[in-house]
C-alpha cells in the first residue's frame, strides 16, 4: 500500500472517478473527515453549489493541518475566489477535469493568486505516480482551457437543438464528419456530465459578467431535471425523444 493518504470529497461522478484512479494505484483514499492527521492531500470536487462548496472546504480546513495541499475543482469559480474562502489560502490549487477523468491522460491545474508553487509541485508529482500529467495553466479563470472551450461548443449545440436547427443525431454527426471531432457535442456532454458543462458556463457568465457565456436555457433545465447524462441515462437525446413527435419543422 502506498503510504500517501488522500481525502476525496464531493458527492458526484468526478469524485468517484478520481477515487478509482488513485485506488487502482494502491493509494489509500478516504471520503470522510476522520483520521485527518494522516491525510497527505485533499481533493475537493463540488462544482454546482457555492454554499455546499464553502461549507465542505470549511469543514475540511478545520480537520487538517494548515499546510496540507487542497486541490479543488474550479469549473465554476476561479481558484482565487475559492482560495479566498479559506484561512490558509496558499495551499489551494485549482484544477479542471470532467467525469471521464479516469480515462484522461492528464488534468489542468492553476495556482490562485494567493497560491504557492511548492504545493502545486507536490501534487504534480503525485499525479505523475499514477500516470497522469498535470498541465499548469498560466492564469486563473473558471473552467481553465479544455472545459471552457468544450462547454462553449456544447452550449452552441444546445442552442441549435433548442431552436430546432437540426436533430440531435444530425448535430452530432455533422460535427464528427464535418470537422473531425472525436465525438458529437451532445453525446460528448452526456459523457462528461451536462451538470459540469453548466457549471463552467454559469461560472464564466457570473465571473466575467458577459452575455457571451449565458448557458442555453435547455442546459439549465436538464440540470434541474437531473437529466445530466451517463448514469442518469437521460440527456439531450432523451429530451428530444420525450417530446414524442417528429422533428416538427421538417
Amino acid at each position: 500500500m502506498n503510504p500517501v493518504n488522500i481525502l476525496i470529497m464531493g458527492n458526484n461522478r468526478l469524485a468517484s472517478s478520481l477515487s478509482e484512479c488513485w485506488q487502482l494505484n494502491n493509494y489509500h483514499v478516504v471520503h470522510h473527515l476522520e483520521n485527518m492527521e494522516k491525510v497527505n492531500f485533499v481533493i475537493e470536487t463540488e462544482n454546482l453549489d457555492k454554499e455546499t462548496k464553502q461549507m465542505q472546504l470549511g469543514d475540511i480546513e478545520k480537520s487538517i493541518s494548515k499546510d496540507t495541499p487542497i486541490l479543488t475543482t474550479t469549473l465554476g469559480w476561479s481558484a482565487t475566489e475559492v482560495a479566498s474562502w479559506l484561512m490558509y489560502p496558499e495551499r489551494v490549487i485549482g484544477f479542471a477535469a470532467f467525469d471521464n477523468v479516469k480515462d484522461a491522460p492528464g488534468i489542468e491545474a492553476v495556482l490562485p493568486l494567493q497560491g504557492k508553487e511548492s504545493y502545486l509541485l507536490y501534487v504534480t508529482e503525485q499525479f505523475k505516480q499514477i500516470g497522469k500529467e498535470v498541465i499548469e495553466v498560466d492564469e486563473d479563470e473558471p473552467g481553465l482551457v479544455y472545459p471552457r472551450i468544450l462547454s462553449m461548443i456544447v452550449n452552441e449545440a444546445a442552442y441549435a437543438l433548442m431552436e430546432q436547427t437540426a436533430s440531435a443525431r444530425d448535430i452530432d454527426r455533422a460535427m464528427k464528419l464535418g470537422t473531425n471531432y472525436p465525438a458529437g457535442p451532445l453525446e460528448w456532454a452526456a459523457e462528461i456530465g451536462i451538470d459540469n458543462v453548466y457549471a463552467v458556463l454559469q461560472g464564466l457568465y457570473q465571473h466575467l459578467g458577459e452575455e457571451r457565456y449565458r448557458p442555453a436555457s435547455l442546459i439549465k433545465k436538464l440540470v434541474y431535471a437531473n437529466w445530466i447524462g451517463h448514469a442518469t441515462k437521460k440527456d439531450f437525446y432523451y429530451f428530444e425523444k420525450r417530446k414524442n413527435k417528429e422533428f416538427t419543422k421538417m
Binding site: 436547427t165 448535430i171 455533422a174 464528419l177 464535418g178 472525436p182 452575455e211
Partner: protein, 288 residues
C-alpha cells in the same frame, strides 16, 4: 431504385465546383460541369484528369474505372447543356445577385421537376430561392472542402423548400456515397456555427493569457482528444478564411456576442500571416 438521379450538372468550376464534379462522376452520375470561362473550364477538365490519374497511380482505382468516371464528365461553356438534368448544383462565388440570376435563368429553361441546389456556405438559401416562381424546388447542398475527402453534406431547408425536395436530395447524397444531415436555413448551418467557439474561445483564452497558443493546442489534443488544436487548424484552413466565417456568422446573428470575433485574428490577417499558405500564422512553417 426509385428517384435515382441519372444526370446532374455543376455550375462553376472553382475549387468547390471541381471537387463536387469529381464526387459525382466518381459516384457514377453523368455530370455536366459548366463555367462561363473557356479557360476555367479547360483547366477544370485537366485538373480532374490529373486527379483520377493520381488515384490510379496510388492504386485506389483501376484504369478502367478511371476511364469510366472521366467518360461521365462533360465540360461546357454552353449553359443550355445543363437544362436537361435531374439535379443542378450551383457552386459559383458567394455573390447573392450572381446566384439569383443563375437560378432565375435555369427556372425559365428547365423542366419543373429539376432540383436546384446551392453550395453556399454563408448566404441565406431562402434569399437565393426568393427570386424563383417555385422556390420549393431549391435547397442548400453544402459540401465541405475538399469535397472528395469530406464525407458530410449539409442539406439546408429554406423557408419554402418542399419536403419532397429535401427527401430527393437526401437520396441523391446517399447515392453519391456521402452522409447527409438536414438543417434549417440558419447562419453557419450546423458545422460552421457550432465549430465557432473552438476557434473563438481559444483566441479569447490566449488573449487573456490563460494559456499560450502552443499550450492550448496541446491541452485540447492530449486531454480533449481533438485531432488538431484550434491554432494549428486555423493555420491549415487559413486565418483569413476562418476570420471571414466568424464575421459572417456574427453579423448574420445580429451581433450575438457568442460569435464576437477576437482582434488578434484580424491583426494576423492585416499582417498577412494567414497560416501555412503564407509560411506562417500562429506557428512558423519552414518553406521547402
Amino acid at each position: 431504385m426509385l428517384n435515382t438521379v441519372t444526370k446532374s450538372a455543376v455550375i462553376g468550376s472553382g475549387t468547390m465546383g471541381v471537387g463536387i464534379a469529381q464526387v459525382l462522376i466518381h459516384g457514377g452520375i453523368p455530370t455536366v460541369l459548366y463555367d462561363l470561362s473557356e479557360e476555367q473550364a479547360r483547366k477544370a477538365k485537366e485538373t480532374l484528369i490529373k486527379r483520377f490519374s493520381r488515384l490510379v497511380e496510388k492504386g485506389k482505382m483501376s484504369e478502367v474505372e478511371k476511364d469510366k468516371a472521366l467518360g461521365r464528365l462533360q465540360v461546357t461553356t454552353d449553359i443550355r447543356q445543363v437544362y436537361r438534368v435531374g439535379v443542378i448544383i450551383e457552386a459559383v462565388p458567394e455573390n447573392i445577385e450572381m446566384k439569383q440570376s443563375i437560378f432565375k435563368e435555369l427556372e425559365e429553361n428547365c423542366p419543373d421537376d429539376t432540383l436546384f441546389a446551392t453550395n453556399t456556405s454563408s448566404l441565406s438559401v431562402t434569399e437565393i430561392a426568393g427570386v424563383l416562381k417555385r422556390p420549393s424546388r431549391l435547397a442548400g447542398l453544402h459540401f465541405f472542402n475538399p469535397a472528395p475527402l469530406m464525407p458530410l453534406v449539409e442539406i439546408i431547408k429554406g423557408t419554402d423548400t418542399s419536403k419532397e425536395t429535401i427527401h430527393l436530395l437526401q437520396q441523391f447524397v446517399t447515392q453519391i456515397g456521402k452522409t447527409a444531415v438536414i438543417c434549417q436555413d440558419t447562419p453557419g448551418f450546423i458545422v460552421n456555427r457550432i465549430a465557432r467557439p473552438f476557434y473563438n474561445e481559444a483566441l479569447r483564452i490566449e488573449k487573456d493569457n490563460i494559456a499560450s497558443v502552443e499550450k492550448i493546442d496541446r491541452i485540447l489534443k492530449i486531454i480533449g482528444g481533438f485531432k488538431m488544436g484550434p491554432f494549428e487548424l486555423q493555420d491549415l484552413i487559413g486565418i483569413d478564411v476562418n476570420f471571414a466565417t466568424t464575421k459572417t456568422v456574427h453579423n448574420s446573428f445580429y451581433g450575438e456576442s457568442r460569435f464576437r470575433p477576437q482582434y488578434q485574428q484580424e491583426r494576423m490577417v492585416q499582417a498577412k500571416r494567414l497560416g501555412r499558405k503564407t509560411g506562417g500564422g500562429f506557428y512558423r512553417y519552414e518553406s521547402s
